[in-house]
C-alpha cells in the first residue's frame, strides 16, 4: 500500500517555499507534542504512523499542524489517555463557549 505521504517520484509540481508565521494554535500543538513526548505518551514513530494512516483526501487537505493534531488525538485515544466521549464533550463545550455572545 503506497500511502499518500510516500510520494517520491510522483508528479507534484514545484515545491512551495513560501514561509508563514505560525498561528498561536500551531505553537500550542507543537508544545503539546513536545510535552507528550517528554511524558512518554507519544513517540515520533507512532506519530508518523498515525499521520500516514489518514485518508488520502484528508492527508492532502490538512495543513502540517492539523496532521500533527490528528496524530496526537489518535495516539491519546489508543493509549487510553483520553476517551472519545471525554474529547467529544470537551469539543462541544469549547464550541458552545465560542458561539456565546
Amino acid at each position: 500500500m503506497r500511502g499518500p505521504h510516500d510520494m517520491g517520484g510522483l508528479p507534484a509540481g514545484p515545491v512551495d517555499r513560501t514561509e508563514h508565521k505560525h498561528d498561536f494554535w500551531e505553537k500550542r500543538v507543537d508544545a503539546l507534542a513536545r510535552l507528550l513526548t517528554e511524558r512518554k505518551l507519544r513517540t515520533t514513530d507512532e506519530s508518523r504512523r498515525a499521520i500516514e494512516s489518514l485518508a488520502p483526501d484528508a492527508y492532502d487537505r490538512m495543513s502540517y499542524y492539523e496532521r500533527w493534531m490528528a496524530a496526537i488525538t489518535t495516539i491519546l485515544l489508543e493509549r487510553g489517555v483520553i476517551t472519545s466521549d471525554e474529547l467529544g464533550r470537551k469539543m462541544e463545550e469549547v464550541r458552545t463557549r465560542k458561539a456565546a455572545p
Binding site: 500500500m1 503506497r2 510516500d6 517520491g8 517520484g9 514513530d45 507512532e46 508518523r48 504512523r49 500516514e52
Partner: protein, 102 residues
C-alpha cells in the same frame, strides 16, 4: 537499557556490496520509500543498528535492533526518463530486512 535490549541482528552486508531492495508492499508503517523498492544499489556504509521503527510505530520494542545501511543508487537506474548527468546518484538509508544480496 539492559544488555538484553541492546541486542542487534548481525550485519549481513559490507560497504561495496551490491544489494537489491525487496519489491514488497506490506501494510503498516514502512520506512523504505516506494520508489526505491526493487532497485539495485551498492552499500555505501553501515550506519549502525537501531530499533526497528516499523515496530516502534506500534509501540513494540523494535528489538533486536536492525542494521541500517546507506545504499547508493544510480539515478538512471531508478528513473527511466532521468535527464541529469549519467553519474548522478542518490543515497537512501535502508534497514537490513529490506535488503537482499545481489
Amino acid at each position: 537499557m539492559t544488555g538484553m535490549e541492546r541486542r542487534a541482528v548481525p550485519a549481513r552486508f559490507r560497504p561495496g556490496e551490491r544489494v537489491a531492495v525487496r519489491r514488497a508492499d506490506p501494510p503498516g508503517h514502512i520506512r523504505t520509500p516506494f520508489y526505491i523498492r526493487g532497485c539495485v544499489g551498492v552499500v555505501e556504509r553501515l550506519c549502525g543498528a537501531f530499533a526497528n521503527p516499523e515496530e516502534l510505530a506500534y509501540r513494540r520494542t523494535g528489538l533486536p535492533a536492525q542494521p541500517l545501511y546507506r545504499v547508493r543508487f544510480n539515478q538512471c537506474d531508478i528513473w527511466p526518463d532521468y535527464r541529469g548527468p549519467a553519474h548522478d546518484t542518490v543515497d537512501v538509508e535502508i534497514y537490513q530486512h529490506w535488503l537482499e544480496p545481489r
